[in-house]
Amino acid sequence: MKTDLPFEPVARPEGVRHVTISFDGRDYDLPEGANLAAALLSLGERRFRATPVSGAPRGPFCMMGACFDCLVDIDGVTCQACMTEIREGMVILPARGRGQRP
């Protein structure tokens, strides 16, 4: 399947149950148990958060839980997207940065 998205899938399992989550107000059907950061990247999402210092956009950098650049807010708790598996009904927001505090 060729698309214009930055990432394309190769040799992935078939028949995995899909569940609905929302990211930044957009609803997506994604494979249950899949890596959240990878799944969002596969949809073309690149900006996972804004930094607290300057508000600059950031996305996944290390994919192994070390850099903390893929921080998102899941049901009210700040999490590393690259260390999170997708569960039904997750409500995910980009981690808030400078000027975005409520």
Binding site: P6, E8, A56, M63
Partner: protein, 467 residues
């Protein structure tokens, strides 16, 4: 609190091999790992991905499946998705799994937390779309995703491997942009490296595969800048003239370095490894650290690769079994002789690789406007200005400008800050030192910490609710 003979942190090659060996020698082993499935980063998700994508990832990756059985071995308790956030040199381990915090008391600890990518601060490296080459590989291994319009930038054999895997996945990188290497200087180390001839053969095989696939290689690239507004859109550099490549993804790599977060937090002795331009813990021949009950095996002990990690894990496990009185010294020596020979052969090739693929000079001395500390957005210029104001060391630096104070706790700026300090003051990196790291080594919520007082003072909660 759970008690055991040996707690191992990290289920990569070193941790898995050590767990199997130690349990085989009669030790009770708890193997803690942050990922849901064993393999570490090098064999990430090998049991699932190997079946689906083995052809793309190759035989070296599939070898990992021979190790993962350790998690089901009798005597081994595998605690997956465990966020280990505090340890003591006496062998106490505190971790959170889900929302539950728990503690383990082990007679011996083995740290097998592997490597991190060497920080590569280049202009634009914080833009979305810029990742480590290791991250690109993890996406392919675990999630079956390959970047479509990607450029690989830097130095080292991993770049060739990732490029080849992308070719096999049907999405060859747009280009391989290599920073200046040291093949000439490395030739002196070649005779010794021939003990690891298999590794060298693999390297030349990868390069052949890239040539056949027509992947464009730029050598001796300098003045590298990642461009983009809000996300990476291109790479500018000079290599035989000014170059620009439009792309969506930039994968950076110039070597890996030991992950010293735990060994530093435990205040173990470290030394500067000039050949690998990084700090490594000081260990004896069995992987024992400056704290008697704490051992370290694998890349966290000094970079030597996945096979070496496996052998080192077995060597440490044999000594731990002797230490705890399960086997005699003779049995230990007999049992570990094969692994030690194989370990020495793996290590023999390293000096050649370290010389042939040095870190990118411009990332070791980042420009004044390049971000050095990603978390706190501290630039090279900020660090130098702080030095001019009289800052002498990495820990003062934290207080002056917050470098290293963000959630990554210095993982991606610590070496850079030490090196800029060392360049400016003339003191060598060893004397310059490194950040003092303190627990929790991963961020925890207050409720995750508060559970500890409930464990230690049962009933404290109810008393409080009565008052």
């Amino acid at each position: 609190m759970t008690r055991c003979d040996l707690a191992i942190i990290g289920a990569g090659p070193a941790g898995l091999a050590a767990a199997a060996e130690a349990a085989g020698l009669g030790l009770s082993v708890v193997l803690l790992d942050e990922q849901p499935r064993p393999g570490g980063q090098i064999y990430r998700d090998v049991d699932r991905a190997g079946r689906l994508r083995g052809r793309i990832l190759g035989a070296d990756y599939l070898h990992g499946a021979s190790l993962t059985g350790a998690v089901r071995a009798p005597g081994v308790t595998h605690i997956e998705q465990a966020k280990v956030w505090n340890l003591t040199v006496e062998g106490e381990v505190t971790y959170t799994r889900g929302e539950e915090t728990a503690q383990i008391s082990a007679k011996r600890l083995l740290l097998a937390t592997g490597a991190l990518e060497r920080p590569m601060p280049l202009p634009g490296w914080t833009l979305p779309g810029v990742m480590t080459a290791g991250a690109g590989q993890i996406l392919l291994k675990q999630s079956g995703l390959v970047a479509r319009r990607a450029v690989l930038v830097g130095s080292g054999p991993l770049l060739y491997l990732v490029a080849v895997q992308m070719v096999r996945a049907g999405a060859p990188p747009l280009a391989l942009v290599e920073t200046p290497g040291g093949l000439g200087r490395a030739l002196g180390a070649l005779p010794q490296a021939l003990r690891g001839w298999r590794t060298l053969m693999k390297g030349t095989g990868l390069l052949r595969e890239l040539r056949r696939a027509g992947v464009r290689r730029y050598r001796r690239a300098r003045d590298i800048t990642i461009e983009g507004e809000g996300a990476a859109t291109g790479l500018r550099f000079s290599a035989g003239g000014a170059q620009f490549i439009a792309c969506d993804t930039v994968l950076l790599h110039h070597g890996v370095v030991p992950n010293v977060q735990i060994s530093r937090a435990l205040r173990l002795d470290h030394r500067w490894e000039a050949g690998q331009a990084c700090f490594a813990p000081v260990l004896d021949a069995w992987g024992r650290s400056s704290a008697e009950a704490v051992f370290i095996a694998g890349d966290g002990a000094g970079i030597a690769g996945a096979k070496a990690a496996e052998y080192a894990g077995r060597v440490s496990a044999a000594e731990i079994a002797r230490d705890l009185g399960r086997i005699t010294q003779d049995e230990r020596d007999r049992r570990s002789a094969g692994s030690r020979r194989a370990l020495d052969a793996e290590r023999a090739v390293r000096p050649f690789l370290d010389l042939a693929f040095p870190p990118a000079a411009e990332a070791l001395a980042p420009a004044d406007d390049t971000i050095v500390c990603r978390c706190e957005e501290v630039t090279g210029g900020d660090v130098r200005k702080t030095i001019r104001q009289g800052c002498l060391g990495p820990n003062q630096m934290k207080a002056f400008n917050r470098a290293g104070m963000g959630p990554c706790q210095g993982r991606y700026c610590g070496l850079t800050v030490t090196q800029i300090l060392s360049q400016a003051t003339g003191a060598d990196p060893e004397a310059t030192g490194y950040y003092r790291l303190r627990p929790p080594i991963k961020p925890v919520t207050l409720s995750e910490v508060a559970q500890l007082s409930e464990h230690q003072n049962p009933g404290a909660d109810s008393k409080e609710s009565r008052s």
